[in-house]
Every structure is written in structure tokens, then in C-alpha cells.
Point group: C2
Chain length 369, copies 2
């Protein structure tokens, strides 16, 4: 019987034993019945089996449960349900590890490009990549395209849209995307250097696929997608289409899964593990020290998981965002290394000489490193 | 300019003032730039405006921000992003209220049936409804259909599938759903009383719509859907199709949004408010005192929001689950009133004389109340 292992960080609640807690997860996430109501055969074939329980002090345990692959069936929503469906409603359960290589590639196949694929495609063999965000919401398609043009003249690698740019009346999706593609091409004609434009295709059920295919048809270079808004299985689906558009995943709406110390997912597993498995070529997360609450350890752990070479599929590009600045980029290059995309937004807009010069400065720091 | 108001429960972090925190939300969820980088015109037209800040003691504030409807554009994913996209990654922010009636019905139209629609459809004008769950995962389609037959002979109103029944090899979706529909009809032919069968259509992007349409075509009476697994916009989409299948929403994978006291969503807003707005005819949640952690106050607040008659659209049926028992059903009827669906799973399976008799007992308690 094919199985896969899931690691948990468990925190005992008042009156609970570790064996009760583990057995509770094994039953809750499979048969959803008391053990006395199921046959030995169902117990063996369907219910999770406890592999490991390791006390960590302070009522905490690291534990591993082995699950039958057949419990997942044919979709990643049932994988997510088995992983964290009902137990998301219970205290003291955090998912910290998954044995990805034990899962069939009919379920998970990872990024279509990943770090090596993107480096080959963009002919940037070694250095870190630059990225910025087009904003603010409220600008017209023309104003956003003018910004894209300036950033492209400044030589940035990737110009993505802010994840709040959707299909608002002041800059409708089709008008905006076409205008930005034209602007990026015009800049490339002038400089001989091509920047890559990633529009935000996040949208409702069916909208998102339509936008992804339109972005490809009109000539975008990749897309931005917030998988926790559109649905995690959407990223999985888009990454497998025969369409030449890398996916940059944005963490909007994902925060509650990682802001609790003893519940949800570890940072590494959610952003470096699950998103990678679902096909994110780029994994955006907010850097430590900015206006969000990730620690230095959280950030390192995401990078390690996203780049882990023991997995059977391509690596994801850690994409560091959330208040990054030109002035500290060298420090972060030292810290995170060259297999990183640095996303600077607001700080480029603050440059007294304009975004083009800000982009030039930023790009030079990466190229000269 | 059309606007809508959102209420927040804010908990100040070390060194933070309430004005900083509120202004931070107004900018973060719209322009994602510092206030000094945007024009007065963008400030007025796009950025959230602080309406109210009310100290609650212990570093907590109730607050309200007014948002432009145009910031949402044409989809509920951008509504969710504005509501809780980036700020999901920040501590001390909980969404507690939304002025639903201010939002256009192109965005939210509520349940297609709701409490009154279901009562009319099933000709149950006043009493509470009964519901159970087919399980366990691991049973064949035949075994699950046999159970459905027994429950239907027992006279239950709604027989839904366990939310873990997906498309596993031991009971594939099509075989299972067809077998259960046949079993329910056979029981109705024998008793003259019709039970209503709700298969689980939760699935990946595109699978879920296909399953919903198949369930309708084959003759199911409604469906079970876990919107946090398939994607929240999926429920919104299915509820608007011209298909005669009410939607029962299951809370799998939603827990992290409500298990933090000072973050995420209030129970009432998520299950009674947002799910209702997105089209859930039935709102399943785990009752207080069971194996999950909802308080009595949480449960009451969900019921009040789901049944609130001040909204412009149909009410959702609170569907109380998570360890409900035959022995205490009268107490919960007293507590929650007749506009409630009671979902008893495991306790019916434990009846020494079998599920048919357990169902009869359960049903009698509701009909005789």
C-alpha cells in the first residue's frame, strides 16, 4: 500500500495526552468515526498510523503520521482536506513537514520552470534577479503602462503588478495588460534590454484561467497569482497547462495559516513546500524587519524549503518583498545568496530622481555584486 | 462615490498607536504605498477612510473603515483581498463586520434558497430539520448506498456525504453518487417519504463544477461543498448557476481564520456573514461542547448572523454538527430554535439496533418537539 508521511508540531491542551491527540488526528482526518465503530480492515487500509512522537518540552511534541495515498483520490483539494481539513478547527496542531517525494506526480509535479528554468529562459545564469511592483490602485492603464516603461528603461528584470490590481473601472484588466505589454516592448526596442512583465491574473473561479490565457495570448512574460484568493488548486491547474507563463505566487489571504505559533502550517512548509509542490515558480514572502512579522529564521526556512534539492521536482525562486530597500540590498544578498529574487516596491517610488533612476541603481547593485 | 463599511477589532502591538494601525490598514489594503507618495485625488478616491475608533481596554479598539466599492472591481477575490489580503500577515487585526447591504448584487446575492426556500421546497414549514453524514471513507459505493437506504428508511430529512468522500478508488464519485441516488429513491418508493441526498462535490478547479452539474443531472437533491478547499469564489459561482441544487457549506480548512482571538474573522462574520453572502443555503459548524473549540457565544453569534433579517437576501440555515447526540437534541432545540438543521453523524452509527432505528429516534424528536 502506497503511503506518505506528514510531520506535526502538537501542543497538548488541558487534560489531553499525546496518544489521544495523535489518535484523534488519525481518525478525524480519515473515517471521522470513533475507532470502535470501524472494522480492522478499514483501520489498516484507511486510518492514519502513528509513526513517531517526540517530546519537545512545554507540552509540545514533534510527531509523524503515515497516511495511505489512496485516501487522497484524484485531487489536491482532498489532499488539503486530509492534511488540515477538520483539524484546522482544533487547537495545537501545526503541519511542519510532508514527504513530497512519496506522493505521485499525478498529484504534485512542482514548478514548470523553477530557478533553473527561469535562469535559462532569461539568460541570467548566476546573479540574483530584480523585481518591482506597478502601483498604485487608482492609476489608469495609461499611467501604469508609463510606469512600466520607466522601470523597463531602468533595466529591471521583472515588473509585476501589485496584487490589488484586478479589474477595477479605473484600469480594466484587458486595457491595462495590453498597454503594459506595449510599454515594455517599446522600452526594449530603445534599450536592447528586455524586462519581463507579470500581470496579476488573480480572479474568481473561471475568470482566473481566462486571464491567464489572455495574458499569454497578448504577450505577457509571466503572471502574478494569489493562490489563497483564487484557490490553491487553481495554481496547480495553471502550472500544468501547456502555456509558456511562469507563475509568481503572492501570499495575500494566507496569513492566518502561519501567524499562530502552534497551529496552521510552518512558514517553510506553506511557502517553500506546498506552494512549490503546487507549481509556484516564484514564492513571494515579506522579509523580516519590514512591516510584516516574519522572523529571520522563518525567512531562512522558506528559502531552504523552496530550494531543497532533495525533492523530485524543480526549485522555486524565493522572492523577497515587503518593505525591501535599495540601501540594504547588499546586506540581503549576503544573507540570502544569489538564487533569490529581490522585490522592491515603495522604495523605488520614493527616489527623488524618479523610478527609472531608482531602478538603474537597484539593478546595478545586483549586477555588480 | 459608492462605499461600504468594514468593522475591525484591532489589538495594538508594542509601540503602535491606533491611528498608525488604522492608517496602515487604509493604505496597505488599497494603494500599498506610503501616504506621502500618493496624490490627494488618489487619497480621496481609492484609500480607505477611518470612520470610527472606540477603545475597548487592554490595547483593543473597535474600528470602522469606509471603502470605495470601485476598489473591488468585478470579482469577489478582489473583495477578499481588500478585506484581508496583506493584513492577514499582520498581527492584531480581526474582521468583525461588513455592511453587506451597501455592496451591489452583482457582487453578492446570497443563497439561492435559504431557510424559506428550503422550507418551501421540502414542505417543512416550521420544524427543525434532521441531517446525517454517510461514512466512513473506505466503504465501497455499494456499502455507502446501503447506509443511505437505511437512513432514508429511518425518515431523515437530509443525508449528506462526509466531506472526506471525494473520488477515492474504493468509492469513485460517479459510481457512489449514482448508487446513493438509487438507494434514496428505492427507500422513498417503500415509505412514501423522501429523504434528500447531498453528495460532496468539493474538488479541484474545474472538477468541482463538473461534479456539481453531474450531481444535478443524475438526480441529487443538493450538494456538500467545502469552500475553503475548492475556493470561496467557487461557491459564489455555483450558487448563481441556473441549477436546482442547494449548497451546504462545510468548514474544512477554514479553522485558522477563526481560531485566533485577535486575528482573522469573527465566527459570526465568516460563517454567518461571508458564507451567506457567497450563497451557502446551509452553514455547517461544530457545536460548542463537542470535540471542537467553538464557545456557546460563538455559536449563537453565527446563528444570528445567518438568520439576520436586515440583509437584502435570503437567510442561511445554521447546520449544527461536530459531535451532536440524540440524547441532547431537545436541549439544543431549546437553545437554537426551529430554524436550525441538526447534523448527527457518529452517534447514529453507535445505536445498538442500527442506523435505521437511530434515524427514526432522531427524526421523532424533531417532529414531536
Amino acid at each position: 500500500m502506497d503511503t506518505f508521511d506528514v510531520d506535526y508540531l502538537l501542543t497538548l491542551q488541558s487534560g489531553e495526552t499525546i496518544d489521544q491527540k495523535l489518535r484523534g488526528i488519525c481518525l478525524e482526518q480519515s473515517v471521522e468515526l470513533s475507532g470502535n465503530l470501524i472494522s480492522d480492515e478499514i483501520e489498516k487500509r484507511i486510518v492514519g498510523q502513528i509513526l513517531r512522537r517526540e517530546p519537545m518540552g512545554d507540552q509540545k511534541f514533534n510527531a509523524t503520521i503515515r497516511w495511505p495515498v489512496d485516501d487522497i483520490g484524484t485531487g489536491i483539494t482532498q489532499f488539503l482536506n486530509l492534511l488540515y481539513g477538520n483539524i484546522s478547527l482544533k487547537p495545537g496542531i501545526q503541519i511542519t513537514g510532508i514527504d513530497w517525494n512519496a506522493l505521485p506526480d499525478t498529484l504534485f509535479r512542482g514548478p514548470a520552470y523553477g530557478i533553473h528554468g527561469i535562469r535559462d529562459k532569461y539568460e541570467i545564469p548566476k546573479r540574483a534577479l530584480s523585481c518591482t511592483a506597478l502601483k498604485p490602485m487608482g492609476y489608469s492603464a495609461r499611467e501604469l503602462a508609463d510606469l512600466a516603461y520607466e522601470f523597463a528603461l531602468g533595466g529591471l528584470d521583472i515588473i509585476k503588478e501589485d496584487h490589488g490590481l484586478s479589474n477595477q473601472p479605473y484600469a480594466p484588466f484587458d486595457e491595462r495588460v495590453k498597454a503594459c505589454i506595449e510599454a515594455i516592448r517599446r522600452a526594449a526596442d530603445e534599450t536592447g534590454h528586455r524586462s519581463y512583465y507579470y500581470p496579476n491574473v488573480t480572479g474568481d473561479f473561471l475568470q482566473v484561467k481566462k486571464r491567464y490565457l489572455q495574458a499569454a495570448e497578448w504577450g505577457a512574460d509571466g503572471v502574478l497569482l494569489s493562490p489563497h484568493l483564487s484557490g490553491l488548486s487553481v495554481m496547480h491547474h495553471l502550472a500544468r497547462l501547456d502555456v509558456d507563463l511562469p507563475i509568481m505566487a503572492h501570499p495575500a489571504f494566507s496569513g492566518s495559516l502561519i501567524t499562530q505559533k502552534d497551529q496552521g502550517f510552518s512558514h517553510a512548509l506553506l511557502y517553500g513546500g506546498l506552494w512549490r509542490a503546487l507549481g509556484a515558480d516564484f514564492v513571494i514572502y515579506p522579509n523580516t524587519g519590514g512591516r510584516f512579522s516574519f522572523t529571520a529564521k522563518d525567512c531562512r526556512s522558506i528559502n531552504e524549503a523552496a530550494r531543497d534539492t532533495d525533492l523530485n521536482y524543480a526549485q522555486s525562486f524565493p522572492t523577497i518583498a515587503g518593505g525591501m530597500k535599495r540601501s540594504t540590498i547588499t546586506k540581503w544578498l549576503d544573507t540570502y545568496g544569489p538564487d533569490t529574487v529581490f522585490l522592491i516596491g515603495g522604495d523605488l517610488y520614493e527616489h527623488p530622481d524618479g523610478v527609472r533612476y531608482a531602478a538603474e541603481e537597484f539593478q546595478a547593485k545586483l549586477e555588480d555584486y
